[in-house]
């Protein structure tokens, strides 16, 4: 789904439900809802009774999955208005979680990165968390100069939303920051930045 060969980018291997987990927490953004809904035939009542589903709508094709998710009748269904509120809720759910809880994350890459930050901050090992990329290829990018993060970047170069430099989006990803690296594209000759190209639609 995403361009291959970026060594520092995580592999998003899919969120097939783990039948052995005692509790499941799903963090889903936009079309990420479909990563769970697509598994419907395999979901047993026991699994759903042990599931907590956190959802935030996003993107043109990811807006109205709340009814379908609620219809799965998980133990808990919660919909938040923004990613930020979902992250807050996720932190709460994880702090109350026990050892045999599994977290699943699906959505755009920036969303996965931010949920992963919450989880690893709380001591979870990133390699134990299934993830699935769904939705646009938009990138979350950190400006290497001012360190400000810009979400939902679709073009390269783009203007840093913090310091205003024209940034080239590099294929180098930091899991700790949950972001790609942006580097000033016309640093050597200011004013020579190429036209922005929509690379991450």
């Amino acid at each position: 789904m995403l361009v291959e060969g970026i060594k520092s980018r995580p592999v998003y291997g899919g969120i097939a439900i783990d039948p052995f987990a005692r509790r499941h927490i799903f963090a889903l953004e936009g079309e990420g809802a479909l990563a769970l809904l697509d598994q419907k035939p395999a979901l047993t009542a026991t699994m759903l009774n042990r599931s907590e589903v956190l959802y935030v709508a996003a993107g043109p094709k990811g807006l109205d999955h709340d009814l379908a998710l609620a219809a799965l009748k998980p133990d808990r269904f919660w919909q938040g208005p923004t990613i930020e509120t979902l992250l807050f809720r996720l932190r709460g759910s994880l702090s109350a979680a026990t050892m045999s809880t599994r977290l699943y994350i699906s959505g755009r890459e920036g969303f996965i990165g931010q949920c992963m930050q919450v989880a690893t901050d709380m001591g979870m090992d990133f390699s134990s968390i299934p993830t699935e990329h769904r939705g646009s290829l938009a990138r979350r990018v950190q400006c290497v100069h001012c360190k400000g993060i810009t979400d939902d970047v679709r073009t390269s170069p783009f203007k840093c939303s913090h310091c205003g430099l024209n940034l080239l989006v590099r294929d180098h990803y930091s899991r700790r920051l949950g972001a790609f690296q942006g580097v000033n594209v016309d640093a050597e000759e200011p004013g020579t930045a190429p036209q922005a190209e929509e690379l991450f639609a």
Binding site: K7, E188, E189
Partner: protein, 346 residues
């Protein structure tokens, strides 16, 4: 013999120069007339007097000025030093290693007196005389890793070993060739090497990682890396790229000699005793083209290396804008005569 430390700058007026003696001991990295990535590692053992291998942690005439430049960088951007919380044992390991090696190599400049856990460290060039308790962070003005790397030339990373990989979990990085510690901290060996072209495909990193996972205590290893820098600037960080990037447009056929510098990293890797982490030392040396061509063999060879460098490496190392001017300038110092094997001057 006591080193005479130069007063010089690596920014603004760029007064950095190498003395004639220091040019002769410059670690020229090319042992042949062409260059490509390889697993170029050899045991880090002491070598002859008058070379950078004289001591395993090399201190030279630029020591004091480099430490001043580091302090300036850290004042502007404290994130150039970072250590994740689980690295404290490795920090003390590093402090011990750097104090012992500097004191052993340069007793006239550095002295370490150990009395159980009470240690006294005397650093004469920087005017430091501190007594502290080894293992007790509160007895030092900084983290032990920051404390000692404010007193040691080169950049430093400490990599933790777990799950069959190496993790960049601490670093002091103020003299880097365009990579960001703040971005890379926490990554593993393959991840932080992600941007390097060609080397992944030819298996260099697989083999290098395997080798390092088996690195033994007391048997450090070393390798060279190199690039080029306009003006003798130590801080070529991506953070400040918009400040130093324009320098690359200032090279003309007439000023190659003073502007263009070969930047060599003598990298050494040391297994640490308590933490089982690895200390990665990136000791950076700069030499202007004017200085370099005083050694005819190096002038000929660098000319040939630059001419035949694979385009991916030209691009990755950022040489594109000034490579042609530099090759043309160096060609006047290359008569086509064969060069002798090895890196040392004839």
């Amino acid at each position: 013999m006591a080193i005479v430390f130069r007063q010089e700058t690596f920014r603004d007026d760029f007064t950095y120069r190498n003395s004639p003696g220091n040019i002769r001991r410059f670690p020229f990295p090319f042992d042949r007339d062409e260059y490509m990535y390889s697993v170029n590692m050899e045991p880090h053992v002491r070598g002859q007097a008058g070379t950078v291998y004289e001591s395993l942690i090399d201190v030279d005439e630029h020591y004091v000025a480099e430490m001043q430049d580091r302090a300036l960088v850290l004042k502007e951007d404290p994130l150039r030093y970072q250590a994740l919380p689980h690295m404290m044992a490795a920090q003390w390991d590093t402090l011990e290693l750097l104090m012992e090696e500097q004191a052993a190599g340069y007793p006239e400049h550095f002295t370490l007196i150990r009395n159980g856990d009470r240690w006294r460290w005397i650093n004469r060039p920087l005017g430091i005389d501190d007594t502290f308790t080894f293992g007790d962070r509160s007895t030092l003005p900084y983290d032990p890793f920051e404390y000692i790397t404010r007193q040691a030339q080169g950049d430093f990373c400490i990599v933790d070993q777990r799950d069959g990989n190496l993790w960049m979990d601490a670093g002091m990085v103020t003299t880097q060739a365009d990579w960001s510690l703040d971005f890379d901290i926490g990554m593993n060996f393959m991840e932080w090497h992600g941007p390097v072209p060609l080397a992944h495909q030819i298996g260099v990193f697989d083999r290098a990682l395997k080798f390092l996972l088996n690195l033994q205590l007391g048997k450090p290893t070393r390798r060279f890396n190199w690039t080029m820098t306009i003006n003798p600037r130590l801080d070529t960080s991506p953070e400040n790229y918009h400040k130093w990037g324009p320098d690359r447009t200032t090279v003309t056929p007439d000023n190659v000699g003073e502007k263009v510098h070969l930047r060599v990293e003598l990298q050494s890797l040391w297994r640490l005793p308590r933490s089982n982490a690895i200390l990665f030392v990136i000791r950076c040396y700069l030499i202007s083209m004017n200085e370099l061509v005083t050694v005819p063999k190096w002038a000929r060879r660098l000319h040939r290396v630059l001419k035949t460098l694979p385009p991916e490496l030209v691009d990755y190392k950022g040489l594109t804008r000034y490579r042609d001017n530099t090759i043309a300038w160096l060609s006047k110092h290359d008569d086509g005569a064969p060069t002798s094997p090895g890196i040392f001057p004839d």
